[in-house]
């Protein structure tokens, strides 16, 4: 059963007087415990597709299903709620808040929700990504790889169904990137999440279960292992 599904999604942008069609009828799905990597040249619509999956953007035509529910016509506030409970994000340049410590950054998505205390889980997650001794460091006291691991921990704090990674290794060197990927693979199984990653990084293909190539807004090939 797919946890996320794009059904014939078309996305058009108004760019000046021109209308750009970034996605031209994309079908896509990912399962729990599966890592799907989306590759393609820049401008091919990878990021737009990731935004659709992450409920950050809505399609012009077509449908988005999350956990078999059609969320296409959800309001912004409903989408925010879905993102909060069901989706974790890992960004290329980490996007940690500079004035918060590692553990606070991990707690961030649940910080406004006073009904649950995620502190213990945040500490737990940081331990699991190997940062148990860096809990109270601020981002500028951490290396790039460490920051990305904090970001991975943050994406998992609300026990999401899907983890979206936009070039997760893009700003890291080969070795550090590799540890992050190993981390993701391990967490994918431990947490039973679907990981959808967009990348230019070839080494990522060694870890992925499914590879999707997108060119000019159209999915060209899907490699199943």
């Amino acid at each position: 059963m797919s946890v996320i599904e794009l059904e014939d999604v078309i996305k058009r942008y108004q760019s000046g007087v021109e209308t750009v069609e970034a996605l031209k009828g994309v079908d896509f799905s990912a399962d729990r415990g599966e890592m799907v990597t989306v590759i393609g040249p820049s401008g091919s619509g990878k990021s737009t597709m990731l935004n659709m999956i992450g409920l950050l953007d809505t399609p012009t035509e077509g449908h988005v299903h999350l956990d078999a529910r059609d969320v296409t016509d959800f309001s912004e506030d409903e989408l925010t709620e879905e993102r909060r409970t069901g989706i974790g994000f890992v960004f290329q340049d980490f996007h940690l808040l500079p004035m918060l410590t590692a553990v606070e950054n991990v707690e961030l998505p649940s910080m406004w929700n006073t009904s649950v205390d995620r502190h213990d889980r945040a500490v737990e997650l940081l331990r699991r990504v190997g940062l148990g001794d860096r809990l109270d460091h601020t981002p500028d006291q951490l290396s790039g790889g460490q920051q990305q691991r904090v970001a991975v921990a943050r994406s998992l704090i609300n026990e999401p169904d899907i983890l979206l990674a936009d070039e997760p290794t893009g700003n890291l060197d080969q070795d550090t990137g590799q540890t992050i990927l190993e981390e993701l693979t391990r967490l994918k199984e431990d947490e039973n999440v679907a990981i959808v990653a967009v990348t230019h990084d070839d080494q990522m293909l060694d870890y992925t279960d499914t590879t999707v190539r997108i060119v000019d807004g159209v999915i060209q090939e899907v490699d199943q292992p």
């Binding site: 953007d57 506030d77 993102r83 994000f89 996007h95 004035m99 910080m111």
Partner: protein, 366 residues
């Protein structure tokens, strides 16, 4: 969280808060200055403001106000105290050779007219004398010392409070009515109405009773000008507050600018917050809290600063620094603080709204 966000660009935060501090100080200090002026002016004029002074009119056939007229006055005004006075002037020589000229007032009900710093003002002054405390100092006179007027000796039974504003300067000697018995009518009659409104009303009644259109038997006067002085002081107060408010408006524009800059700068970060599921209302609240904190801290420092300014101002204007804690002036501290918080939150509304409603996709891309 909001607190730490403010801490990130300390210089900018401090400068914006400084704007608020200056705004609050100016609005609160100017307000308090107005209150101090008003208090001082009212205390100067307060005692005589409620009096109606009656003297013989231009068309009167008699010398002074007659006994019969005083009786009629007593009938008309019913409740108010009617105090007839005779006046003259004299020079007193002290044992130490000092000489002082002063006005002499003959009065029976001294209690109704005078405030004493020492001793008692009887409402039937029969034998003693009251003297201005300034004059008493010059002449080295103490309670119980004798003064001579018109061949008679009177013992000093009290000292008069120097009336600050009007009519001050010269010394005053208050004697029993009998001391000036060679005068027939009364030179003036004071009707103690209590406040300036009542005084004005009484003056109208008295004027109507005694005087015809072309016939002024009695000259009736009040310090009705006190009313217009109060109006003037109020206007002045508002003008001062308006000037203060302008500086607070300038300060809130500074806050608007700072909040706008900081949200533009943090656009990507706010995009991340929104992406990970922080609601729009929560982003809005966070930024408004930052603005409110800035306003509260600035307002608090400003209020403390104004308190110092107010203490100095009251010391200078009224000689009583502690009077700053009277509600009439300390209210401006509260107003200043409240204004600062409200202005800050208001100027935080637009940046907060803008940040919260930015689409996360666009914000993340920036």
């Amino acid at each position: 969280m909001a607190w730490r966000n403010l801490g990130r660009n300390r210089t900018r935060t401090v400068l914006a808060a400084l704007g608020i501090v200056i705004g609050v100080i100016s609005i609160a200090s100017l307000g308090m200055a107005g209150a101090a002026l008003q208090q001082q002016a009212t205390s100067d004029l307060g005692s005589i403001g409620g009096d109606v002074t009656i003297a013989s009119g231009a068309d009167s056939a008699t010398d002074g106000v007659t006994r019969a007229q005083v009786e009629t006055l007593r009938d008309i005004v019913s409740d108010a105290e009617v105090v007839p006075q005779k006046s003259n002037s004299t020079a007193l020589t002290a044992r130490n050779g000092e000489e002082a000229r002063m006005s002499v007032t003959g009065v029976t009900n001294a209690a109704a007219l005078y405030n004493l710093t020492n001793g008692d003002a009887p409402n039937r002054l029969a034998s003693g004398a009251l003297i201005s405390n300034g004059t008493a100092e010059t002449l080295d006179l103490e309670l119980g010392d004798p003064v001579e007027y018109d061949g008679q000796i009177y013992r000093i039974s009290g000292f008069l409070e120097e009336s600050g504003g009007f009519g001050g300067g010269g010394g005053q000697l208050v004697l029993p009515m009998s001391a000036l018995s060679e005068q027939d009518g009364y030179d003036t009659v004071t009707v103690v109405a209590g406040n300036s409104d009542a005084a004005a009303a009484l003056a109208d009644v008295i004027d109507a009773q005694f005087n015809g259109e072309d016939d002024e038997e009695l000259r009736v006067s009040t310090f009705g000008s006190l009313d217009s002085l109060e109006t003037f002081l109020n206007t002045l107060n508002y003008a001062l507050l308006a000037i203060g408010a302008i500086s607070l408006v300038v300060a809130s524009v500074a806050i608007l600018n700072v909040m706008l800059m900081s949200t533009v700068e943090r656009r990507g970060e706010i995009g991340v917050l929104r992406a990970v599921g922080i609601r729009r209302g929560e982003v809005l609240r966070m930024i408004l809290t930052e603005a409110a904190l800035m306003g509260a801290v600035g307002g608090l420092i400003g209020a403390l600063g104004s308190l110092l300014v107010g203490l100095a101002m009251f010391q200078l204007l009224t000689g009583n620094a502690m009077a700053v804690f009277n509600w009439s002036s300390s209210q401006y501290l509260l107003f200043g603080f409240a204004f600062a918080v409200v202005a800050s939150v208001l100027s935080g509304v637009y940046p907060a709204w803008k940040a919260a409603n930015d689409r996360p996709v666009d914000a993340l891309r920036s």
